[in-house]
Symmetry: C2
Subunit: 196 residues, 2 copies
């Protein structure tokens, strides 16, 4: 279990919260993107980016010039957020409409991954996430490309998951209201590849 | 056009950036969720939530007890981030792998929507976003339910969009590398409704 700290205690609808590392890992693995939030000049900034997981760390990459990469490499406090939407929950009452979702919020500081071998292994893991088995076939990174890429790792140590699933929960008095109620599933799907 | 301020100038790959309000509105409308980032006790917090748009404002809702709602109602500086993934960009070289995406980052402060009529109109717009035409059929909110719901609006005034589209861009020297290259489209799709 991840540690339950003051800022990882799920207060809103706590029954939906979890610190189960397997659940957190599964959500991180399924999501293609996250947001990384940091404080810049006292104000919040949250940037969408790609992440991937290697064991108990979430990885990120960027060019050497990017502000996000610089902030992360400098040890800024981060908040990484991942969301998967699983369904639209259509209730009989306006008030009880909702969504089914799985989300993760992680806090911490990232460390830079240095050394060509570690950096190449990290890039390989990203490509394997996108298309398992692909890394062996692509042109591997050169020393120059590795030097131009900043790779960062955030320990999966402080954070939580939150999950809603199942049908709408209407008030008893509304159960005979004459409207369809239920869940419209939502999923991310891959289409036919387009060569280019 | 949205104003180009210091913090909405797209610096990384600026050719992908835009301040076009129609593009920003379209991305906000298509996305089912966003993250709202704020600073709490000097540290970043980024919470996933549902958003919807009414004209030139993005709306949010929550229970009266939620920290996010309280922070927003108190006028905290916010950063709202929306991401749509359109494809996996599989290049010939490891280095040039990418994603096609459309994202929006907005900055500003939210205002609370008060008054039962305004609050009901805002909730109706959320349900119409989930399922156009549905609001007329559901059991409308009671005064008590409206009082228990906090509704907030962020002006779409300071922010930017960022878009990548199209095939991978490989180095000329890699064009004959013997691996399939192209785009795997990614889309969010709705499945068969499940009554419940």
């Amino acid at each position: 279990m991840l540690a339950t700290t003051e800022r990882t205690t799920v207060r809103q609808r706590p029954q939906r919260g979890s610190h189960d590392p397997d659940l957190i890992a599964a959500i991180l693995d399924e999501a293609l993107t996250c947001t990384v939030a940091f404080v810049d000049d006292g104000r919040p900034v949250s940037i969408p980016t790609t992440h991937w997981r290697m064991g108990e760390r979430v990885l990120f990459h960027g060019g050497m010039g990017s502000r996000l990469g610089r902030m992360m490499a400098a040890g800024a406090d981060l908040c990484v957020t991942v969301t998967l939407v699983d369904g639209l929950v259509l209730a009989r009452s306006a008030f009880h409409h909702s969504m089914n979702y799985r989300s993760v919020v992680l806090f911490g500081q990232a460390e830079e991954i240095s050394g060509p071998a570690e950096k190449e292994a990290a890039l390989a893991a990203l490509i394997e996430k996108l298309t398992p088995g692909r890394y062996a076939s692509v042109r591997p990174p050169t020393q120059k490309e590795l030097a131009a890429t900043r790779l960062l790792a955030l320990p999966i140590a402080e954070g939580s998951a939150k999950v809603r699933s199942g049908p709408p929960v209407d008030d008893e008095a509304d159960m005979s209201w004459p409207v369809w109620a239920g869940v419209v599933p939502v999923a991310v799907v891959k289409g036919e590849p387009v060569a280019g």
